[in-house]
């Protein structure tokens, strides 16, 4: 049985408190008027040069491109109103990015877990309880997501801009035919119902999978194992469809004019590689504390191989999506990549290739390195940071626009959800023995050597 170390528990709680304070600070320092925005932008512009004039502001799909320096007074006010909304969005975006990041780790772990069942893997059984522990975050994570989405509907803070009723009003200046055409899919009730179904489905599988897995410990026959096998197959079917839709609904709809058929699978690759990394890191931590005697460095090796392989897979999808849009250069599509490739997100956008591709590729190529815990942990940290940036670059340009920063609200949000994640996961790990001893493949897994 694992016992939650006091040190870790206290750090988790400290993270949460510090994070909560920082988040509160983020909300308190939101500018309330255009005047304040003026001051803020001037401060920021001291560092930047005016080359940013060609940047895209995606806040309002009717005004996709804002170039030219000589703008009228009315346009200036309009610009500042957008800027105000961007600044107001910032703490929300910071929370959403961090919240989604930790939620997707739990979700991806669940998918990995289901795949292990469905493929009758023989090596990973000794890691099952670790994975079950990580997926314990799924429920609180889902509740936070749900609460956030409800708030974003309720207070109309321009986060999901398609929720603005003005776009659908033919009398309004903002009337947007494209959005009207999409309103059969992008409308609040249907959108909320879908979200609810996704979250419900994933949590139900998690609940029964863990229940069966624990029941199998005491089982004399394989009933619970067989139930889980079936459940996993059907979960994967459900997941394959809902994961894509989730990506369209929660993230792609932030830029409602833009679309990419690959987007759902691209988000999947981010989610999957981050989860495997976290599984490896938690396993190594527990092993180092002496709690997983059955785990050996062959298990590390396999996990690191997955980190390596799926980092390359992520890059493959990243490149496929980017290159095809860059190559065809159709205006409605490249609008998405302009702020990312040429605008203020360039550094993050290109930089994440280093941490998501180059570093894992070079560091985890050697098979000896894949067995060394500190090597896996340090590569893992790089990978996780890279995928945080990936989520950041997906969400920020559409919500915060040109005024992005990684400051107190962002770091505090990470700290808060990191603390919560650690607390929930390690607390869940104390609830059950760390060896899934009733599983028919457990002996294979314990004797696993590669």
């Amino acid at each position: 049985m694992y016992s939650f170390s006091k040190k870790l528990k206290i750090s988790a709680i400290v993270f949460m408190i510090l994070g909560a304070l920082g988040i509160a600070y983020g909300f308190l320092t939101i500018p309330n008027s255009i005047e304040e925005v003026k001051q803020l932008t001037e401060q920021q512009n001291q560092g930047h040069n005016e080359a940013n004039a060609a940047n895209v502001i995606e806040q309002n799909p009717n005004h996709a491109v804002e170039n030219g320096k000589e703008v009228s007074e009315a346009a200036k006010t309009e610009h500042l109103t957008h800027a105000l909304h961007s600044f107001q969005n910032r703490p929300y975006a910071a929370i959403f990015i961090a919240m989604f990041f930790f939620f997707m780790i739990a979700l991806g772990t669940l998918a990995f877990y289901a795949i292990q069942y469905a493929s009758q893997a023989g090596w990973s059984i000794v890691l099952f309880r670790v994975m079950e522990g990580i997926t314990a975050y799924l429920l609180p994570g889902s509740l936070f997501i749900l609460a956030f989405l409800i708030i974003s509907v309720a207070n109309g803070h321009y986060f999901y801009i398609w929720m603005n009723p003005e776009y659908y009003n033919p009398q309004s200046e903002l009337y947007d035919e494209i959005l009207v055409g999409k309103s059969w899919w992008l409308n609040v009730p249907f959108w909320m119902v879908r979200t609810f179904i996704f979250l419900l489905g994933w949590n139900i599988y998690r609940y029964f999978a863990v229940k069966n897995s624990l029941a199998q410990d005491a089982g004399v026959d394989l009933t619970h194992y067989k139930k889980n096998f079936k459940a996993s197959v059907f979960f994967l079917l459900f997941f394959a469809v809902t994961e894509s839709m989730m990506a369209w609904d929660w993230i792609m709809s932030l830029t409602p004019h833009w679309l990419s058929t690959l987007f759902g699978w691209y988000v999947f690759s981010t989610l999957f590689v981050s989860s495997i990394t976290v599984i490896a890191m938690v396993t190594i931590y527990l092993k180092s504390k002496g709690f997983l005697p059955q785990v050996n460095n062959s298990h590390f090796h396999d996990l690191a191989k997955f980190m390596f392989g799926f980092s390359i897979f992520w890059t493959y999808l990243w490149f496929s999506q980017f290159m095809l849009i860059w190559y065809a250069n159709m205006p409605e599509e490249t609008a998405y990549f302009t702020p990312r490739l040429l605008g203020p997100y360039q550094l993050l956008f290109m930089g994440m290739l280093l941490s998501n591709f180059v570093f894992p590729l070079l560091l985890l190529m050697n098979s000896d390195f894949k067995r060394i815990p500190w090597f896996i942990i340090s590569t893992g940290i790089i990978i996780l940071l890279g995928h945080y940036v990936d989520i950041f670059v997906m969400i920020s340009p559409a919500t915060v626009g040109n005024h992005w920063q990684i400051g107190i609200p962002e770091i505090s949000s990470i700290l808060f959800f990191l603390g919560l994640f650690i607390y929930v996961v390690f607390n869940a790990l104390t609830k059950s023995p760390l060896n899934a001893k009733g599983n028919p493949f457990i002996k294979e897994s314990e004797h696993f050597h590669y």
Partner: protein, 465 residues
């Protein structure tokens, strides 16, 4: 590798086989004489091949106008068949490389034939990029060679050029991978050969393999490295093939999901072809003990999985067609317009063959049934041909400008060349089945003690004591 195997894993080698039995069974088709049925099949395939050659010669002699192409639909059967054949080839690499990385022992009964299929399919695929050119004799211009035209170079921006590199690299790496695996098996045939001519031939082919410890160690490392290289290669090859379409601005072609979706479709169709071939081969070559029900079932599961991925991609394409709000998307291959337009039959053939019928594999009764598996595999081969046909022809026939809307109908030359490649494929495969060890016996012997039914029974009895 673990020294322990869970008892719920099913045996992969049936019939109480010993090492010697495996050798004898694998060598039997090579050492025996071809029967009448083989000669009949070979003759038919050869005739089809010769007819195909005649059609190709006719095309090159008279001009590409003998095909059914027109100004608007300027790719049709040629590129459909090209993509279809490349796709079929992908299962071989998946079985030999990806399943090796995932340590799937059931791979060993089928990998040799799957790789052979890859290579023969890529041969067929490789014909089309050449013969669909208007000026075949200038084909070497696609290579970046220094020349007397002021060193006139190729433009590296075209996915058709990437195709050249992708296909030629794919073919060469697959060949090397396949050939390395063949060395110990050729050595086995060499050592068993009684006639001096055969001994000479297999002696040459086996490169003096003597099976020393160091050789085996290197052999395994090379296999693993090649598998690690072949996996990204196999993904990139069909990705590049998909980019022939996806980089364009044609509605229905320009779609970012194409790279992984084409790869999934390739594995889907490739496994279907492996299934077709192996279900026959296990019967005629008496290999039922090595290509067992579990092999067939596992392949059906892969078909179901990749079919599922392809289906999710269909749903995505369909959804995004609506979601885009673009009126042009109405006429593309997965849309309302395609379902009701002049090519409705091709559209519904795709949906029925790839989406509806394969769903029957969810039932264990059907996916373990040999006859049904054979039927499904044929259906998928047809369905995946229609998928490529739909993508290419429907999208080209109804483009942006209504004044250039048109239909396509193939001529006998289009059909003849396709039949010719099928004939060529079977000529190669039939020759292979009589001269090559169709099962990687050396690999199979490495799992006999862990996965042979006799050894499994022995272990079970020991546990019961």
């Amino acid at each position: 590798m673990s020294h322990y195997e869970a008892s719920i894993r099913e045996p992969l080698i049936n019939g109480n086989k010993s090492y010697h039995d495996i050798t004898v069974d694998v060598a039997a088709p090579v050492e025996g004489k071809a029967n009448k049925k083989w000669w009949i099949a070979f003759t038919i395939a050869l005739l089809a091949f010769l007819y195909g050659i005649a059609c190709i010669a006719y095309t090159i002699g008279i001009g590409i106008g003998v095909w059914g192409l027109n100004n608007r639909v300027n790719w049709a059967w040629d590129i459909t068949n090209f993509v279809w054949w490349v796709g079929i080839g992908h299962a071989g690499t998946l079985i030999s490389a990806v399943l090796l990385l995932f340590r799937q022992k059931w791979r060993m009964g089928i990998n040799r034939s799957a790789e052979a299929m890859t290579i023969f399919a890529v041969f067929q695929a490789g014909l089309f990029p050449i013969i669909h050119m208007g000026r075949v004799w200038n084909a070497f211009y696609v290579l970046p060679l220094p020349n007397a035209l002021g060193s006139l170079w190729v433009n590296f921006n075209s996915p058709l050029l990437w195709d050249v590199f992708a296909i030629s690299t794919y073919l060469s790496v697959s060949l090397v991978f396949w050939y390395t695996g063949l060395l110990p098996d050729f050595a086995m045939l060499r050592d068993r050969a009684v006639r001096p001519f055969q001994k000479k031939i297999y002696g040459l082919l086996s490169f003096g393999w003597s099976g020393r410890l160091k050789d085996w160690q290197r052999f395994e490392e090379v296999s693993l490295v090649l598998a690690g290289l072949a996996t990204p290669l196999v993904l990139s090859v069909h990705t590049i093939v998909s980019m022939d379409f996806a980089t364009s601005v044609i509605p229905g072609w320009h779609s970012t999901i194409f790279p992984p979706y084409f790869v999934a479709g390739a594995i889907f169709s490739g496994f279907a072809m492996v299934q077709t071939l192996l279900l026959i081969m296990r019967k005629v070559s008496n290999l039922e003990a090595y290509i067992t029900r579990i092999h067939i079932e596992n392949m059906n599961k892969v078909i179901l999985l990749t079919g599922g991925i392809v289906s999710v991609a269909y749903i995505t394409e369909f959804f995004m067609g609506w979601y885009s709000g673009s009126s042009y998307e109405d006429y593309t291959y997965l849309s309302v317009g395609a379902a009701t337009g002049p090519y409705w039959w091709a559209f519904w053939a795709l949906i029925t063959c790839n989406f509806i019928i394969p769903q029957s594999l969810w039932f264990k009764k059907l996916r373990t049934n040999y006859v049904w598996s054979f039927f499904i595999s044929i259906v998928i081969n047809i369905g995946m041909w229609f998928e490529r046909f739909d993508i290419i022809v429907i999208d080209l026939s109804r483009g942006h400008l209504p004044s250039s809307w048109t239909m396509f109908s193939p001529t006998f030359v289009d059909v003849g060349i396709f039949i010719g490649t099928i004939g060529f494929f079977f000529v190669l495969f039939l020759l292979y089945a009589r001269t090559f060890p169709v099962i990687a016996q050396a690999e199979l012997k490495s799992i006999l003690k862990s996965s042979g039914d006799n050894y499994k029974k022995l272990r079970e009895n020991n546990h019961e004591q």
